[in-house]
Amino acid sequence: MTAVSRDDLPPPGSGPGTTTRPAPPGGLAGSRRAEPADWVVALSTTGPEQQHALRLLHQLMVRAAAHQVWRMRSALPDDSPASVEVIVQQAADEAMTALLAKLHTFEGRSRFTTWAFKFAILQASSDVRRLQWRRREVELRDLDLGTIPAADHDDAERSAEGADLANAVARAMATVLTPYQRRIAVALLVDEVPIDVLAERLGTNRGALYKTLHEARRRLRAELTARGYLAPTGGAR
């Protein structure tokens, strides 16, 4: 799908009483004309009201994308204002396209602006993480099983702290996880590869990887609980 771009929108100021002047999040202080009473209707009905709503929506997306990119700018290979601006505009365009495709799902359980912001934040954060890792290799490595010390039968009763617990978790990873679950867990939680970056490199999606991780954690917790390292309802003993 092609992203809605600011180039596709009516030029700022061409509609009645609009401007692109930055405004605080949540409101549209830069617009002399009020935001639509019903965003979904305004965005769905062709005509001047739709053009006005699209322009205001784009301002919202830029504002939220800028908020997110500036939060994460230390992770960018180039965090100059000009580079940040390009990333913000691209994220806003992509997020607006994603939002419009899901417009029919808005149920009014939150403010429309809050609902809209989350699309821009998701897009901007994914874009920054991808840029951060663009030149970095992602290795889907296994845990080095040869370095895991054998179980000390006194360990669980003696202490679930520090090295004992770490060794027990590593042994559990070796015995109750599949090689694929282990590699995904290592990439995400040991090597700290961002989940959307790993998903892109593996040709899968964030949801599928999180499901794998969830199942791996469930198995690890069950094993460590059975071996006495975790309390049945909570954390380490």
Binding site: P24, P25, G26, G27, A29, A64, H67, Q68, R71, R109, S110, R111, T113, T114, W115, F117, K118, I121, L122, S125, R129, L143, D144, T147, I148, P149, G162, A163, L165, A166, N167, V169, A170, M173, A185, L189, V190, P194, I195, D196, R206, G207, Y210, K211, L213, H214, A216, R217, R218, L220, R221, L224, L230, G234, G235, A236
Partner: protein, 79 residues
């Protein structure tokens, strides 16, 4: 002279991340769908509880950062 214990293969940070309890299950898509409502509820009542969202956010750093960012954005604005 004593032989030093071998270094554990996992850091404490990794151990903590591996042992996060992410039940009840909530997918990243479901988290995204609920994020706006959850964040507004937290703004209205800091004691608002949604166990499924909380557990997902503890276990998914990407979703957690996005939820925190949305919360900060709403807090910073004039709504």
């Amino acid at each position: 002279m004593t032989t030093p214990r071998p270094r554990p293969p996992l850091t404490p940070r990794a151990v903590g991340a591996l042992l996060v309890d992410t039940t009840p299950w909530l997918s990243c898509d479901e988290c995204f769908e609920r994020m706006d409502v959850h964040v507004e509820a937290l703004l209205a009542d800091p004691h608002h509880r949604d166990p499924a969202m909380e557990h997902h956010l503890q276990g998914c750093t990407a979703c957690a950062d996005e939820a925190r960012s949305l919360l900060d954005l709403l807090r910073s604005g004039t709504i």
